[in-house]
């Protein structure tokens, strides 16, 4: 079971990294989503113990799953959700202003590259 989660996390990380390195912002956002999911899976798989749902009324605590990673993943998911929504709004605003959703070069980079070509 752990191996499956770990493999899934690895696949998510590699696919996500590939997408983040693209020029199109839509792909970058999807890539970030994948990478965060990978991290969340890894966090889940770090549970000390798996087992029954950790509900206090549910019986013997020793047979319950470790609740802490679940709580942490829940927090991380919410944060990632919020930031991804913000990023999408930003991408939309950028697309409205410039007409494309590709990441542009730094102003300074363009200036220096231009200076190199002129000389």
């Amino acid at each position: 079971m752990t191996l499956v989660t770990l493999t899934a996390a690895a696949v998510l990380f590699s696919a996500g990294t590939y997408l983040i390195l693209q020029r199109s912002l839509a792909r970058v956002v999807v890539g970030l989503g994948l990478v965060s999911h990978g991290a969340n899976l890894l966090l889940l798989s770090s549970s000390v113990r798996t087992g029954l749902p950790p509900v206090v009324a549910g019986g013997d605590p020793q047979s319950m799953a470790d609740p802490l990673p679940q709580a942490m993943v829940l927090t991380a998911v919410v944060i990632t959700f919020g930031v991804t929504a913000f990023l999408l709004a930003l991408a939309l605003r950028g697309a409205i202003l410039t007409g494309t959703d590709s990441v542009e070069d730094d102003v300074e980079d363009r200036r220096i590259a231009g200076a190199g070509e002129r000389s």
Binding site: S46, M72, T75, A76, V83, L90, G94, V103, E104, D106
Partner: protein, 485 residues
Amino acid sequence: MSWLPAFVVAFPLLGAGVTLLVRSVAIRRVVTFLGVGGVLAAAVGLLFAVDRDGAVVAQIGDWPAPLGITLIADRFAAIVLSVSASMLLAVLLFATAQLRRGEVDWGFHTKYLALTAGVSLSLLTGDLFTLFVGFEVMLVASYVLLTVRSGVDEIRSTMTYVVINLVASALFLVVIALVYGLTGTVNMADISTRLADVDPNTRLALSMLMLVVFGIKSGLFPLFMWLPDSYPTAPTPVTAVFAGLLTKVGVFVIIRTQTLFFGIDEPSTFLLFVAGATMVVGVLGAIAQNDVKRILSFHIISQIGYMIFGLAMFSIAGLAAAIVYITHHIVVKTGLFLVGGLVESEYGTGALDRTGGLLHRRPVVAALFLPLALSLAGLPPFSGFVAKLALVQEGVALGRGTIVAVSLGVSLLTLFSMTKIWGATFWGEPKEGGGEAGRGMVIATGLVVALSLGVSMIAGPLTDLALRAAADLLEPGRYIRAVLG
């Protein structure tokens, strides 16, 4: 006393909630001043209490230590928090003066208070996952502050900033997963005791991964590329606060994690190399720029190198020098960016070739710039000199000649790039410009300059305090006993 660490996090957050509810800008302003002022008062109170009686610990909800969330203020955290809070207050003054001149405030106060709470939480938390949350609170506030004007430039630069920080956050989650898998806890004091039994190679990998995560946040070589692109486009008060505080919170966490978790007690050649490379690349980048704020942004990177230099020596005097350096740098860097903002208000731009002769037009701005610039370069009698002298002395004492030579050379180059700003902006024929910097903005900048001079005035007591803080850092037992009892 133990409510104070919780107060500095909860109070500004409460204020942020209130600013969302009230309509009147005047009330929002008062609430924000109260919020940030309250944090400053509490931080200074904490500093005195901590220095007298040892670390102040708050167990949230009275859950005992490894189970609940712990907030802990030791000397190091209290020093950094006090300086940060005073800068937050000074910049708030500057922002208020700037906003009076008829601009819309874009809900600035709410985000500013959230940022304050995020900084406090990141500095005081004794729990790795809460540190992640603290960082996110701080970062989300900073994302929104960066995009308040949402023009093409802001969108482009903020995009880089958000993406790189999201990647760093995902890596931070990986660190938390690995640490939890290895030790079964996220309480930092508990991690520190349990990591001692972990295989040294695993610990090294963990240490490097943490360095990457917090290195991205603090702009270490070679992870700094996002910084000079995203800081300069924001409004001046925002850039000043980011430049002064955000990267330094990253450095704070690097120092905290490396000393607390990994029990290193000899100079790390690897970290010294990173420190040297950060200094050199940062300063060379600064020399190539032709805009006041961009030059200053590259100098942030170069200065981070000095702090890591202090850490890398892993000795009491070295860490104390790093702490003095952080104190000096937060003040001076914030001040320089505020001066950059004054220049921009005068000319409508910070581009060096479109400014000139400010010395004749507004001598007071020149008078504010000069001590800060000389302090950044490390000339006596300014605060930068005190900090650099401490670093160099310890570097020589440990026989690390190369890094000492590099740091002195970089100081010279820093001076060169400061004279470049001076020559282009303050000397020369007076040029026509768009406007005039308001009196309130000048006064706020003057306060920061006065504080920076104050740092060199109290250099003796400050160094003693830093030495005590550094001794705490190199003796993790004290931190662990304070948290776990």
